[in-house]
C-alpha cells in the first residue's frame, strides 16, 4: 500500500513503580489502515493506548504525527491533534440525545451567547451521521439505545473531531455477531475516508476480517509486526505467548484426595455466565484462566451469592447448598478473596484484629454478645506470626500496610473462619515480586493442609505454577479443563479465545 504514514511511535518506554509497562516499543499507522495491537493481559496494550490518547506520559521515545514530532501531555491535546479513543467502557451521557453527546463540550450558541443552537447542532449531527452511513436519529436519548448503537455514537463523536486516528479498545466485546458485522462496515467506511484505525481486540478471529497489519506485544516489549495476509492465528498466539513456555515452574506432584468437596453444576447468570460446571477436590488447586471479562470473577461472585444466579446448583461434600447471599456461602464453608481487596475484602480504617475476626465474630463473643477481646487479639497475633505479616502490632490499621501484607490479613480472616473452599481472585495483583513468592508458598501450603482452592489469575505463569488443573473460560463459558501436565500457555490461550463462533469443538 502506497499510503502516507499518519502516526509513528519509536522506542517508547513507560515505567510504573516496580514495573516496566512498556520497553522500547515501536508502532506505526498509515492512512486508510486498520492496525491491530494484540497481546496477553498485561502485555502493555492499554498502556500504549493511554500514552497515545494523552492519559499517561511516556518516559522516553518519540511520537511522530503526520511527519511532525509531537508531545501528547493530556487527552485534550490528543483530541486537538486528531487522535480519538473509543474506550471499552463507553463514555456517554445516557440522559442526553445523540446530537448532544456528539458535540458535548463544543456546543454552538445562538447569537447573544446564552442559548444553545439546538437546530444547528442537530443539522450538523444529521450530516455527520449521513457521511458515516450510520443509521441513528440525532434526537434519540442515548441511554435508550442498544450498546451497539451507543458505540456508533462514540464513533461519530470521534470522527466529529475531524481527527485522523481512531483507537478502538475491544469494540466488539459486548456486540452480537450481526452488530459486529455492522461495526466492521463502519470501519470500512472510515478506511475509505483515509482514517487510520488502531484496533485492540482479544478476538483473534476478527483480525483476519478487518485488519491490514498486526503488532504483537509481550510483557511490555515489542515482538513483531505482521501483515494480516501473511500470517494466521496460531502464529499470532505463539508470538503472544513467546518462547518462555519451557521455563515455566510447575507444581510438585501432589497427591490429591479423591473426595469432591465442591461441585458446581450448570451455573448461569443473567448477564454473562452460561452453563458452567466443574468439580473441586480436597487439597486441590484449580486454576481459572481466561482473558479479562471472560467471566471468572462473575463466576466466583455467583458461587458466593454476591450476585444473582439464573440457573445452576452448588454442592458441597455431595450435598446441595442453597446460596442466596454471601453469608450462606460462608456458613457452608466457602471464602472469597476478591481481586479488589480494598473494596471487597478489607476494612481499611480498622485494625488487623478487627479484620482477622470479621468473618468469625460470633466465635469471639460470649452468649450475651460481648466480644472476647483478648482471644481476638490472640488469634490476630497468631496469624501475624504464622503468615509473617510485617506490622508493629495487631493494632495497626490496614491502610498502613503494604499490598502483600493486606492480602495476608485477608487470608488470615478466612483461615480464622476455617473454610474448606477458598476462592482466590487474582491473589497477587498489586503485590510486589518478593511478596508474590510468599503468597504462592502459602497457597500451596493451604492445599497441602487439605483446603480446596480455586485460583483465578490472569497471569498464565502463575496459573501454571500453582494449579493442579486449569479451567479456562471465554465469554462466560467454560471452554476446557486441563491437567497441569497437559497444559501450556499456548493451549490455554487457544481455549481462552474460543469465542462462540468456534465453541462447538470446545468440549
Amino acid at each position: 500500500m502506497a499510503s502516507k504514514q499518519l502516526l509513528a511511535l519509536s522506542g517508547v518506554s513507560k515505567e510504573f513503580p516496580g514495573v516496566k509497562a512498556l520497553n522500547n516499543v515501536s508502532f506505526d499507522l498509515n492512512e486508510g489502515e486498520v492496525h491491530a495491537i494484540v497481546g496477553e493481559n498485561g502485555a502493555g496494550k492499554s498502556t500504549l493506548m493511554k500514552i497515545l490518547s494523552g492519559i499517561y506520559k511516556k518516559d522516553s521515545g518519540e511520537i511522530t504525527y503526520k511527519g511532525k514530532s509531537v508531545s501528547i501531555p493530556n487527552p485534550f491535546e490528543a483530541q486537538k491533534l486528531g487522535i480519538s479513543i473509543i474506550h471499552q467502557e463507553l463514555n456517554l451521557m445516557p440522559h442526553l440525545t445523540v446530537a448532544e453527546n456528539i458535540f458535548i463540550g463544543r456546543e454552538d450558541l445562538l447569537p447573544g451567547g446564552v442559548f444553545l443552537a439546538n437546530k444547528k447542532q442537530v443539522q450538523a449531527a444529521i450530516e455527520l451521521l449521513k457521511e458515516l452511513e450510520l443509521n441513528l436519529n440525532p434526537n434519540d436519548i442515548v441511554g435508550e439505545l442498544t450498546i451497539a448503537k451507543q458505540q456508533m455514537v462514540e464513533i461519530a463523536k470521534a470522527v466529529s473531531y475531524r481527527g485522523s486516528v481512531i483507537i478502538m479498545d475491544e469494540p466488539t466485546s459486548s456486540l452480537t455477531p450481526a452488530e459486529t458485522d455492522a461495526l466492521f462496515k463502519i470501519i470500512g467506511t472510515l478506511k475509505a475516508a483515509g482514517k487510520g484505525v488502531v484496533y485492540i481486540s482479544h478476538r483473534l478471529e476478527e483480525l483476519e476480517k478487518i485488519t491490514d497489519r498486526i503488532t504483537v506485544l509481550r510483557d511490555g516489549e515489542y515482538v513483531k509486526t505482521l501483515k494480516t495476509t501473511e500470517t494466521d492465528i496460531p502464529e499470532i498466539i505463539s508470538l503472544m505467548v513467546g518462547r518462555k513456555v519451557e521455563q515455566d515452574q510447575r507444581p510438585e506432584n501432589r497427591t490429591i484426595g479423591s473426595e469432591i468437596v465442591l461441585r458446581v453444576e450448570g451455573l448461569s447468570d443473567p448477564k454473562l455466565l452460561k452453563d458452567v460446571s466443574f468439580e473441586l477436590r480436597k487439597g486441590e488447586i484449580l486454576g481459572f484462566a481466561g482473558l479479562m471479562g471472560a467471566g471468572r470473577t462473575e463466576l466466583a461472585r455467583a458461587i458466593m451469592g454476591a450476585d444473582p444466579k439464573s440457573a445452576g446448583k452448588v454442592y458441597l461434600h455431595g450435598k446441595e447448598v442453597k446460596i442466596k447471599q454471601p453469608s450462606d456461602a460462608v456458613a457452608a464453608g466457602i471464602g472469597y478473596l476478591s481481586e479488589d481487596r480494598k473494596r471487597y475484602g478489607l476494612l481499611l480504617i480498622q485494625d488487623i484484629t478487627f479484620n482477622v475476626i470479621l468473618s468469625s465474630i460470633p466465635r469471639f463473643s460470649n452468649k450475651f454478645g460481648f466480644l472476647k477481646v483478648k482471644s481476638a487479639a490472640g488469634i490476630a497475633r497468631d496469624s501475624i506470626a504464622q503468615l509473617r505479616v510485617r506490622t508493629p502490632s495487631e493494632r495497626q490499621f490496614l491502610k498502613n500496610l503494604s499490598g502483600g501484607n493486606q492480602q495476608k490479613v485477608v487470608i488470615a480472616k478466612w483461615l480464622t473462619r476455617d473454610c474448606d473452599v477458598l476462592i482466590f481472585d487474582e491473589p497477587t495483583r498489586g503485590i510486589d515480586v518478593g511478596a508474590k513468592d510468599e503468597i504462592y508458598r502459602l497457597l500451596t501450603k493451604l492445599a497441602e493442609e487439605g483446603k480446596s482452592i480455586i485460583m483465578i489469575s490472569s497471569e498464565l505463569p502463575e496459573v501454571l505454577r500453582l494449579s493442579d488443573r486449569i479451567a479456562v473460560m471465554c465469554d462466560g463459558r467454560l471452554t476446557g479443563i486441563i491437567d497441569n501436565k497437559d497444559a501450556n500457555q499456548k493451549i490455554i490461550m487457544e481455549l481462552a479465545t474460543k469465542f462462540s463462533s468456534n465453541v462447538i469443538s470446545a468440549n
Binding site: 453469608s327 456461602a329 476478591s338 471487597y344 475484602g345 480504617i349 480498622q350 465474630i361 477481646v373 480472616k413
Partner: protein, 338 residues
Amino acid sequence: MSDVAKKANQAEGSNKVMAFVRREIGRVTALASLVVIFAFFTIMRPVFASWANVSGGILMSTTVIGLLAIGVTFVIITGGIDLSVGTMMALVAVITGKTVMAMNLNVWQGILLGMVVGTLLGAVNGILITVLRLPPFIATLATMKGAQGLALIVSDLKPILFTTDVKGWDAIAQGNIIPNFPNAVFILLLAAVVASVILNKTVLGRYTFAIGSNTEATKLSGVKVDRWLVAIYALCGLFVGLAAVVMTSRLGSAQPDLGLGYELEAIAAVIIGGTSLLGGKGTISGTIIGALIMSVLINGLRILELQQEWQYVVVGIVILLAVYGDNVRRRRAGESTH
C-alpha cells in the same frame, strides 16, 4: 538508670501520650473546645458556672437531644443517617401517653412501653432501608414526615397531659435520686455508658463499625448486614423512645408538634463530637461532648442576652468550624474527608 535510659523512658512516655492524642484527636479537640467555651462564658458572666445554671440549665437541656444523638451515633457510624428521630420522638410520646392513660399503666410500665414503641419504629426505618433498598436519607425523610402526621392524628392535635393522672411521671426527669442532680441527667449519663459499652464491647457494636467501614467487604465476609442494620436502627429507636419518656416527663405532657428540628440538632451533636458522616468511626463520649457544646453555647449566649436569631448563627458557625477542622486534620493524615 543512666541519663540516656531515663530520657528514652520519658520520650516513650510522651510518645504514648502523643499517640493517644493523635488517635483521639477528634474527641480531644472537642473536649478542649467545650472547656474553652465554658471558661469564656464563666469569665463573661460568673453566674454561668453556678450549679443551678449548669444542672438546671445546661445539663437538663442536653438530655433530650443527647439521648437522640446517642441513637443517631450508631446509625451514622454505619454510614447511614436518621432524619426521623425528632418526629418519631413526638409519635412515641403521644402513643405512650394515650396508652398509659387508657390502660392506667404505672410509671415503670410507661417507661418500658415508650422504649418498646421507639424500638419498633426504629426497626421500621431499618426494614425500609434493607428490604426496599431505600437510601437511609430518603427512607428516614419519609418516616420523619409520616411520624409528624401520625403524632398529630393519634393525639387529635391536642397535647396529652401526664402529671395529674400518672403518679411519679414528672419525677422521671425532674426528681433527684442523687441530691441536686436531676434524674434526666442521670438517665442520659447511664444511657451514654450503656451505649458506649454496646458500641465498643459487643457484637452489635463491632458490626456497626464494620458496616460503616466497608459494607461490601462485610457482606462478603459472611455477615448478614441487612439484619444487623435493622437491629441498629431499632437500637436508635430505643434511645428515641427513652428521649420521648424524658421529654414528656419534663413537660408533664406529650406534645404532638414538638420534635421537628430535633433530628438536626442531634446530628449536629454527633458531627461536632467527631463521628464521621462517612461511617466507620465515632464515639458516644464524643457525641455527648458535642451535645454539651451546643447546649453550653445556647445557654451562654442566652445569658449574654444575645438575641435568639444570633444564637442560631453562632451554632451554625460552630458546626462549620468543627467539620472544617476535622477535614483539615484528616487531609493532613491522608484520610478521606467529608
